[in-house]
Symmetry: C2
Subunit: 521 residues, 2 copies
């Protein structure tokens, strides 16, 4: 049903592979387009007031933009054509922009921003618009600055593996370019068919390869960005080592378009692994899961490419709602681990995984285990993990939290929530996620599809306070966007928020870049 | 002789392993303490004027600091005791500070900076004082804020591998703490016996493991820092994933103490490899060196831990000045590659390296090759690479440049300099370095020990202009410090320098933190 819902929204090309990730990342609480609120915080229900500092767009402005663009196709004002830029793919965030600009060069981006800054016209930079926190959609009438027409690959150095390209390049197209050259992009997201590399950098996108290759802060070598006043900052270094002054590119990575518009990037791409193996293991306690991770790091070292876990409740809900799914072992267990290795030597990787499995079984860290090397079985294993969210969606309303927590509290929050919600609204609490990255997806499901404010009150702000108390992150990989600005204080101290404000004020004194996002209003 | 010179300076504990790295990184142009200028740029010969904005230290200030410190041993004013803090280990940079403060807590750092900011007293934060560009030494009378008394390890999570510690922890002591636990620090420097982890982060230290594990921007998970006005910014996250607002810690990494004082860090530490193999290969052209690197990345994947190169001139100078050194092969070749793999399975790593060697030899990418797995032979191979700088020092005056260059220009600069300097001052031009990281050590040696300004004029600014023209970096890993402020424009555009200034002004409006460093005066 979710598939239908998304397919209906014709304004954004989301391919099937995207959906998988979205299933894992966001709610699929109901079969209707309007009920996605079942799974969100109360924060996004309250729309912040339009900022009086900003001017309203007029005809003269549009004439100026047409002149800058020198091409009518880059200036969109038609109401029908604006729709796709004004809403996010979940149909959860809605703006009212009257103008979309699609520049084709950094120079045009610069001229646009210079003019907007002088005229106090607010701007929302937009990549693939595949975000999950409303960061790339206008809140009011901000001009949409779409990077989609800037999508050229400029250079690839097959010795260093550094790829230089425009911000608007689709992630999947970069992968397609790199694959025949024996390289791969260092991040992989379900949204790869639509998301843009500039947006990936601007939001510090995570994904399933982070465990192996690190974040965008590690993999982006250089950035060209345009500041709010139109200044082009060229830090488009393709060098792995460059200690000449402040590493300015880091400021743009993860700042969600509020400090500047990324126009070009240089990314370090690793050699593409040629062999993949997956194991599915079961444990009786979360302590065993942790031990398995420690041993995997030791024995599998750098071929470890995924370490995901799910508790029994996740398996139950998948078995109930996925007709193809099978009970993975003869008995039931409290926890399941999906472990992937990928490397460059089929035989070695096979042997290593076998040896690891023998070791952890003989040391009784594992209750049962199985592994696969052929792509069909690998896909089946992954399906068990990947259909959890879809199955939860079918089961009822889902209250979802994307948290990072230190290891000693990682699963504890699930136990605590179980106790807290015991007997309330027939709820079911489960946990799964990227345990290798410390990233937990906490899910609370109730049989009724309808959003229940009173029940939500039992979860929030408790879950954020718990996360904050244990120095966790209330947004492990999705960012703050428009959704979590009022929750930011749970993961950032006052002095850190103050420093963020100072930097924003310095780099964008008129606040025209992606207003109402990231910082609390 | 250099060894003697350093041993004489009793103010800083540099162990033998340090020297190796220093040999690779800095000049050893002469046997006297005063002649290190032979190898430096003209910039460091001109001392910048004291900034009139800063107050002069008085007795009342010292009373205040004694009160803050609550312990006389943390307040150093004795002239003899100040010596070690006023000079760098090379005896190249000299300050005239009258006060060293050694706080024991973040709270004390905060109170000190708050007072200094109000009184307009300039401060130079100092870690192990092992830098190579004068960044940690006062230029005039700045108060030295030494982190050496803040050296506790606070926490280690053996599941995530994240270590939390004070900024003043010595790198080697962290390695000693991690080793029995099966982990290792993600960076390794010759200065490890003296350098501090806070300084490593503040200078974004490189070292030989960068190829494998990435830079400090990738490996530091969290930072606690104190701003110029005493504000404590707690971003000491131990989380691998945290997308809640700007990644503020990145601002402090690599800013060389000019934006804040790092007081605590959380670092991601990898599992320690259990097997190491090294190969020495020879090639007839630099194109073959590049091909070897491409194949190494493909076939050795993530077990590749070093890929160093040296040209024939390097080998010649080592053979001439190192009695123990042997001609590595029966014939002489233009280029030599030292390749290291390290992993977790002795047999597999051995097989992979063998298979790689067979392949590149059969495809004629290699003229000759040999490899070692026992620690003695491995050490011998490394010695060939590690004694280059020492040997160059024995040969005469050395003009050294630590550059990053794109692969197509990487060795070209050596050829260009050879042509430019042909027949001048009996000079010899050679190149070696971390080719896997794009980091070239360009060395120009003349038989006479004395520094020659006219000859230097043939090299500079040409070498910086060449580097700049090809989008390289004039400081691959050493930073800017006091040495290269006036050269910064060769690697940073005006708009980038302007943005750096704005950020400095925002975070340290009175400019008290490490003045005269990083930014051009």
């Amino acid at each position: 049903m979710l598939l239908n819902r998304i397919t209906k929204s014709n304004f954004i090309n989301i391919n099937k592979s995207c959906l998988k990730n979205y299933f894992c990342s966001v709610s699929s609480g109901s079969s209707t387009t309007t009920s996605t609120t079942t799974t969100t915080t109360t924060a996004n229900l309250l729309k912040v007031k339009r900022d009086d500092r900003f001017s309203y767009l007029n005809k003269d402005d549009i004439s100026v933009f047409k002149k800058i663009m020198n091409d009518e196709s880059g200036v969109i004002t038609d109401a029908d054509d604006l729709v796709g830029y004004n809403h996010d793919w979940m149909n959860k965030y809605h703006g009212n922009s009257q103008l979309v600009l699609r520049p084709k060069s950094t120079e045009q981006v610069s001229q646009i921003l210079k003019y907007c800054n002088e005229r106090r016209l607010a701007v929302v930079p937009q990549g693939g618009n595949t975000g999950l926190v409303g960061g790339s959609v206008p809140v009011h009438d901000e001009i949409v600055l779409s990077l989609q027409s800037m999508n050229k690959i400029h250079e690839f150095d097959s010795v260093t593996g550094v790829l230089t390209c425009d911000a608007g390049c689709i992630l999947e197209s970069l992968e397609q370019y790199l694959e025949p050259r024996g390289f791969t992009v260092p991040l992989d997201l379900g949204a790869k068919g639509s998301c843009q590399i500039g947006g990936n950098a601007a939001t510090n996108a995570g994904g399933i390869r982070l465990l192996r290759y690190g974040s965008m802060h590690a993999n982006v070598m250089g950035v060209e960005a345009v500041l709010a006043d139109g200044t082009i900052v060229d830090c488009l270094s393709t060098l792995r080592k460059d200690n000449t002054g402040y590493d300015l590119k880091q400021l743009f990575i993860g700042s969600e378009g509020t400090l500047g518009v990324i126009t070009k990037l240089a990314i370090l791409t690793p050699a593409k692994p040629t062999s993949v193996h997956v194991a599915l293991l079961s444990c009786d306690s979360f302590d065993e899961v942790k031990k398995l991770l420690i041993e995997a790091k030791k024995q599998l070292g750098d071929i470890l490419s995924a370490f995901e876990f799910m508790d029994r409740s996740c398996i139950d809900v998948v078995l109930e709602h996925q007709p193809q799914a099978r009970e993975p072992f003869d008995s039931k267990f409290k926890f399941y681990v999906l472990l992937e290795v990928s490397g460059f030597n089929e035989q070695h990787d096979n042997e290593k995984l076998n040896s690891y499995l023998e070791d952890v079984i003989s040391r009784k860290m594992v209750a049962d285990g199985t592994f696969a090397s052929d792509s069909k079985s690998i896909a089946e294993f992954w399906k068990l993990r990947e259909t959890i969210t879809e199955s939860l969606g079918k089961a009822g309303a889902v209250y979802k939290y994307d948290l990072s927590l230190p290891m000693d509290q990682f699963y504890n929050i699930v136990e605590v929530m179980k106790e807290r919600l015991a007997g309330k609204n027939n709820s079911m609490v489960c946990g799964f996620g990227h345990v290798g990255d410390g990233n937990l997806h906490l899910n609370i499901s109730t049989p009724k599809q309808k959003y229940n404010k009173e029940f939500l009150g039992l979860i929030e702000p408790f879950v954020y306070e718990f996360t904050s108390k244990h120095n966790g992150s209330i947004s492990a990989e999705h960012g703050i966007g428009a959704m979590k600005t009022e929750q930011l204080h749970h993961s950032k101290t006052n002095s850190a928020i103050q420093l963020m404000r100072s930097i924003k004020q310095t780099m964008d004194p008129n606040g025209i870049l992606n207003p109402y996002k990231v910082l609390p209003n």
